[in-house]
């Protein structure tokens, strides 16, 4: 009898793409709303974005069951923080918490590719980008998910500081205005939708600024 191998995986990939761009006093976080498995679409209307605190918003692509579990853990931990400190968590604090939470499951990871966006304690836009086990970095812009390979080079072209030879190399927050950044994001997704089969249906954009938070939707191709 031939050797039998386990062929069950605890993970699945539900596809989708997330983007975040940091501005001088705002942050744009966006994700498509398509949820797939294999070559099928499960739903065209699933939000990958969650507001964790006043000034922290997380978008995650990957295995949505793990994403949801991760969101719940962070929500509960934020409540504990609020009870202990009598205030909301700042975005940099949430960034560290997310990293620690991901690394906690280093040997059975959350299959979740995250971008965390928000305003730092000075009111400036910040974006943090992660891998599945919690390695993170503050950047001026980032994308994760199935369309990230298409979007990231385009954002590098549009937003990266001109000369990589100038040291220290850093992604400054973009000088773009809020509406320009939102338009850029829409362009990114319209393009990614063309070539990535897992990205499409609808785009959900959140804009975080001193006044609060604004949500916008844009239709994307459904094929």
């Amino acid at each position: 009898m031939p050797i039998q191998q386990a062929n069950w995986s605890p993970y699945d990939n539900n596809g989708g793409t997330c983007v975040a761009i940091a501005g001088a006093d705002y942050c744009v976080i966006a994700a498509d709303t398509r949820m797939s498995t294999g070559y099928n679409i499960l739903t065209r209307d699933y939000s990958k974005i969650i507001q964790l605190a006043d000034k922290s918003v997380m978008a995650s692509s990957g295995f949505q069951a793990d994403v949801r579990a991760l969101q719940k853990v962070l929500e509960a931990r934020h409540l504990v923080y609020q009870h202990q400190h009598n205030k909301q968590m700042s975005c940099p604090a949430m960034a560290q918490l997310l990293s620690n939470t991901l690394y906690y499951k280093r040997f059975f990871p959350y299959y979740s590719f995250n971008v965390l966006g928000g305003l730092d304690s000075e009111g400036k836009g910040c974006v943090f980008t992660y891998d599945a086990v919690g390695s993170y970095e503050r950047v001026g812009y980032s994308s994760q998910g199935s369309g990230s390979t298409l979007i990231m080079p385009f954002l590098d072209n549009q937003l990266k500081s001109p000369s990589p030879l100038l040291l220290p190399a850093k992604d400054a927050v973009t000088p773009l205005s809020e509406s320009e950044a939102a338009d850029l994001v829409k362009t990114c997704f319209a393009s990614a939708t063309e070539r990535d089969i897992y990205t499409g249906d609808k785009l959900e954009i959140l804009v975080l600024n001193a006044e609060g938070i604004r949500r916008e939707y844009m239709e994307l191709r459904k094929d």
């Binding site: 719940k72 853990v73 929500e75 509960a76 409540l79 504990v80 009870h83």
Partner: protein, 276 residues
């Protein structure tokens, strides 16, 4: 309360069938500064007297937010109260995590009561020395519960605990029938009036009291000092209207003061340092 040979251990019954340690724990609640609660069909108000140790120090926190829909006021050993509040917060968070809905108030108080009961039946523990007024809102409406160190709990329309709470109870006994249909503003005013009764003539200002509200469409929150002071000013002006009631009250209080003069001395000196 008298010392006797059956009161050293919480696990020792007296011949009359009493657990003295538990009863002594309930005494600790009476020594704390006053806290009151009242509820209507849609709101619950908790209020407490916050006396500071001295002019130089801050005063103790006696009202805690447990969740958006539940808050608690404590009297007695405030350290015990703080620990129990942390437990309550943790239970609410875990319930929300598992069921993605709010922990019903009745379930929380049962868990709290069971936790208190454990301490009445273990020789290496002591009962919690704190009374808790748990006020909250859930699907079945607004609720106010009192949890005591014995592990008992009861639901109330209005309740007061701590030192000189009887004065507040008397006030509320007169008016409680109006509470169910009361508006939010009148409920807060009644809470302040009741709290004033416990001060026995001392001036009520927002610096010595704390008021918190939870209700339909209103998360549990503690009212800020300015709001409270504005409400106090509003009803002290209306104090004239309350004159007939006020005239009746001092006579009762005068009688009480004389009868209680003997008790007042030791009680005043012995205000539990755990709860000012």
């Amino acid at each position: 309360m008298f010392r006797n040979q059956y009161d050293t251990d919480v696990t020792t019954w007296s011949p009359a069938g009493r657990l003295f340690q538990v009863e002594y724990a309930m005494e600790a609640v009476k020594q704390g500064s006053a806290a009151i609660g009242l509820r209507s069909k849609t709101h619950v108000v908790l209020a407490s007297v916050n006396k500071a140790n001295s002019e130089l120090s801050s005063h103790q926190k006696k009202i805690f937010k447990v969740d958006d829909h539940i808050g608690v006021a404590i009297a007695g050993l405030t350290a015990d109260g703080r620990v129990l509040s942390r437990y309550m917060r943790s239970e609410c968070i875990n319930y929300s995590y598992s069921y993605e809905s709010k922990l019903p108030v009745g379930r929380l108080v049962v868990q709290l009561a069971d936790k208190a009961q454990v301490c009445t039946q273990r020789s290496w523990k002591r009962p919690y020395g704190v009374g808790l007024l748990v006020g909250g809102l859930d699907e079945s409406g607004a609720h106010l519960y009192y949890n005591c160190p014995s592990g008992n709990y009861f639901e109330y329309q209005a309740f007061a605990m701590g030192s000189r709470s009887q004065a507040a109870k008397t006030y509320m006994e007169r008016k409680f029938e109006t509470f169910t249909e009361s508006s939010r503003e009148n409920l807060v005013k009644d809470a302040l009036f009741a709290l004033r009764e416990t001060l026995q003539g001392e001036k009520l200002t927002s610096s010595i009291c704390t008021v918190a509200v939870v209700g339909v469409g209103e998360s549990f929150h503690i009212l800020d000092k300015e709001t409270v002071q504005a409400l106090i000013n509003e009803f002290e002006i209306a104090g004239e209207e309350e004159a007939p009631a006020n005239e009746a009250a001092p006579q009762d209080q005068g009688g009480d003061a004389q009868a209680g003069a003997a008790d007042q001395g030791p009680t005043d000196q012995g205000v539990a340092p755990m709860d000012i």
